[in-house]
């Protein structure tokens, strides 16, 4: 199983976020550039939003990875939903201050003033939809005091769009929206991923019909695509071991793509 042709491509599509796996696609590269330049502007908070699986966390991790070479930047990928904890952890990590007392906002700002870095530290908050509105308000006040520059991600669903509007569509926010990929972009995504890992033979198995089917099943969503391809290659691993004669090496089988889609729930059957 481990020297299977398909186990490596399968593992490529595990749904994990690692900046080293970042794939450059034109539209994302564009967004990333504007994100990077926004970060250097003072005052404004940056909001990355979009539906689940559109690559917000990936972009945030990439930003963290790139910025941390030159400046103070802190990633919070697990939301700290308790308000006291939040300020305490922030003070601890950014200003190396671990207090015994409960941390109020005023106290926090005092500490920040006392430390006063020349460059405003950048804090990256993933999954901000998990933060309460009162905590969001505190974050805004900290940002207003120019003590910390925040970049946050928020995943929106139809319902959450309303909250997103209320909280974030004010002028203090610079919002950047991420979308699902087009079929063309998805093709680039899949191929780049496979090629980067030297899975040339498997990359060659994708024809345009395969890509179209994948794109129509996943609607160009990165996470759905990852899940679909992970189970597709798991399927290929199984057939390779149990019935190799069925495998064609010149194209992917639509049937197996659909079976994988049934497995991941993209097709209800």
């Amino acid at each position: 199983m481990e020297h299977s042709l398909f186990s490596k491509p399968r593992d490529l599509f595990l749904d994990v976020v690692n900046p080293k796996d970042y794939v450059q696609i034109d539209s994302i590269a564009h967004i990333y550039q504007s994100l990077k330049s926004s970060v250097q502007k003072p005052l404004k908070m940056i909001l990355l939003f979009g539906r689940p699986g559109t690559g917000k966390s990936m972009l945030l991790h990439k930003l963290h990875h790139d910025l941390s070479k030159h400046q103070k930047v802190f990633m919070f990928d697990i939301p700290i939903v308790d308000e006291d904890d939040f300020l305490r952890v922030l003070a601890e990590r950014i200003f190396a201050y671990s207090p015994r007392e409960t941390m109020t906002l005023t106290r926090f700002l005092e500490i920040a003033e006392a430390v006063s870095y020349t460059d405003v530290p950048i804090v990256l908050l993933d999954e901000a939809q998990l933060y309460s509105s009162s905590l969001m308000e505190k974050i805004r006040l900290i940002s207003d005091a120019r003590v910390i520059k925040f970049v946050i991600t928020l995943h929106k669903t139809d319902k959450e769009e309303i909250i997103a509007k209320e909280h974030f569509q004010t002028r203090i926010w610079e919002s950047i929206e991420l979308h699902n990929a087009t079929a063309e972009e998805l093709k680039i995504y899949i191929q780049k991923k496979l090629l980067k890992a030297n899975c040339f033979d498997v990359a060659n198995m994708f024809n345009d019909k395969n890509i179209k089917l994948v794109a129509s099943l996943t609607k160009g969503n990165f996470r759905e695509t990852n899940k679909l391809l992970f189970s597709l290659f798991s399927l290929y691993c199984w057939y390779e071991e149990n019935n190799p004669a069925l495998i064609q090496y010149n194209a992917l089988k639509s049937k197996w793509i659909e079976m994988a889609a049934i497995h991941t729930g993209l097709i209800h059957a």
């Binding site: 595990l14 749904d15 689940p52 939301p79 139809d158 996470r223």
Partner: protein, 226 residues
Amino acid sequence: MLNIQNLERRWLKYKIKFYAPYILGLIALLTLLIAVTYSKKSDTDEAKESIASPSKSTHEASSTVLEPSMDFVRSFQTTLPMNETPKAPLQKNAQPVREPLPVAKLVSTPPPDLSDEKSFSLNRTESKLDIETLERRFKETSNANLGLFIARYHYDHGNYSEAYNFALKTNSISNKIEESWIIFAKSLVKLGRAEQAKKTLQFYITDSNSEAARSLLDTIERGTFK
């Protein structure tokens, strides 16, 4: 993990379901064709049906028999004038059956089931619902960090079997998260399975050289773990 036979079966079912409307359309088409040729050709039957008005000519009779079949055609929602030849509706009725098909059946992604998340972000008291929302998200995202978050939450709340479960899941997503291994081992001890905890830690230490794991193993062995 993959049940290929089951998947094959479900795929077949899906394909049948997918093509069923086409097949039904085809059957309807054939039925119609037969009905029409039947009504046109079998004069004897028509004569029987027009017993009520025996004076009618065979020509008139055939036009009265045609009407019900036109209603049938209309039920397929074609907008054909009444006196058109029956051949035209035959070709047309295939389309309305075909039209609504491809997208609707094929791309039915699950709806974003995040209806609770709104209430989560507004009402973040440590209620049961919140962690359930997170667990659902974890199921959806397989985000190891979220798995760790949930494992830690359960450990802190004394739900050691849940903590054990989520740490286990987290480790299977990423076996490089030290804290997840620690929670996993600590939960095992709490669940009265110290031996297994020790084994797990020993295994993890050889793999990672983790200092934290080593000191935890120490406290367990000395019996000072609480």
